[in-house]
Subunit: 221 residues, 2 copies
């Protein structure tokens, strides 16, 4: 079953930082330094505020006065029921389905606490138009994820490389806060983020979910 | 004019960290150390997610397994219209009114990027039931703010001590993201946060806005 995002995914957009193995590995040395001392032991969450919502085919504005902008291809998991203190074994029953997400950000120096200013610009979170039902995806932990810029593949990975699986994320987050039907967990963006410029066409493809297309445009003066 | 929070303040709850002068002063030394090197030059924002919303008279749950819980008395500013790149001079025209907020948090070691896990527990953001219209408050930058625990005054300050005034906050935030009618800016919590325990009655009083009363309760097993 497919449902419109505008009906099925109207809740809070939760981002999960550092949830691809290659990305976490690449940062391990830095996490030994102050002030961290050790890598994060729990999911590092951030919020994409409602003003970041954007759609398939819509422009993404390259903000005036910033140097770099990076897309973030990600699998979005849409909750179908409220989840509070849900165990790993029951977590998938809370999932309504999946949606393609492109989690745009300004590059940052800290991965522990992603900043509102870098993550929450208007339109910085395009979502595909459809939520694909859970039953349509045989294994959400084996989906190829690709980012194309102007038709060229620039990032390529698989949800097989998530540090925390979807049920682990739901269990660990719902342990301390209630997730609601319609909320979206953005399961993470792989290592190797690339810079995009005004004029670029940016496409995220996830097998079984289709494509999400956006164009980067310069900010009007 | 007074309007119900459930009608007039249904948007995103934005927290502003470090926005009382005494609090910022007390942290200045730490901000000279790595990784900060200098105090923040822009408002440090965080989000209170929708699951944190709570009301006057409602219980606030002291989470199992945590050691400390702290209330955060604050003036909430409710937007009455969308604000994008609003100048300081026009900012107050975007304000619908004011609401008392108690921004509960688990104590944290970093003020730069307040964490979802410490700030976004269910019910951690009680709001008063009414939005008091902008015209009813002669000077929102001269309001005594008090926190009482079990009838005893434990924090006392004034919105005269905000680091950034209400129009400055609206201007600086709306420069990089659109604020929407119904959004609430939680203008900051003063220094001297206190610990509360299950059984405590916690009251925030702000002159002209009345009182917000909550009871801390133990989490059920």
């Amino acid at each position: 079953m497919r449902r419109a995002v505008s009906e099925a995914a109207t809740g809070t957009l939760f981002g999960v930082a550092l949830n691809y193995r290659g990305l976490l590995q690449s940062r391990l040395e830095e996490f030994q330094q102050p002030p961290y001392q050790k890598p994060p032991v729990k999911p590092v969450l951030f919020i994409k505020t409602p003003n970041t919502r954007n759609g398939d085919g819509a422009p993404v504005v390259f903000p005036a006065g910033v140097e770099r902008l990076q897309p973030g291809p990600a699998l979005g998991v849409v909750l179908g029921r409220d989840a509070s203190r849900v165990g790993v074994d029951e977590a998938m029953a809370c999932v309504a389905g999946y949606v393609i997400v492109n989690e745009f950000s300004l590059p940052e120096d800290s991965y522990y606490r992603p900043a509102v200013k870098a993550k929450c610009r208007d339109g910085f979170c395009p979502l595909g138009s459809e939520v694909v039902g859970r039953d349509e995806i045989a294994d959400p932990h084996a989906l190829p994820v690709r980012l194309l810029v102007n038709g060229e593949v620039r990032q390529q990975n698989s949800t097989a490389n998530l540090v925390r699986s979807i049920p682990q994320l739901i269990a660990e987050i719902s342990e301390f806060m209630t997730l609601h039907a319609g909320d979206v967990l953005i399961t993470g963006t792989p290592e190797g983020r690339v810079d995009v410029r005004p004029g670029d066409e940016v496409v995220v493809e996830i097998e079984g979910l289709g494509r999400l297309v956006n164009h980067v445009v310069a900010e009007e003066a």
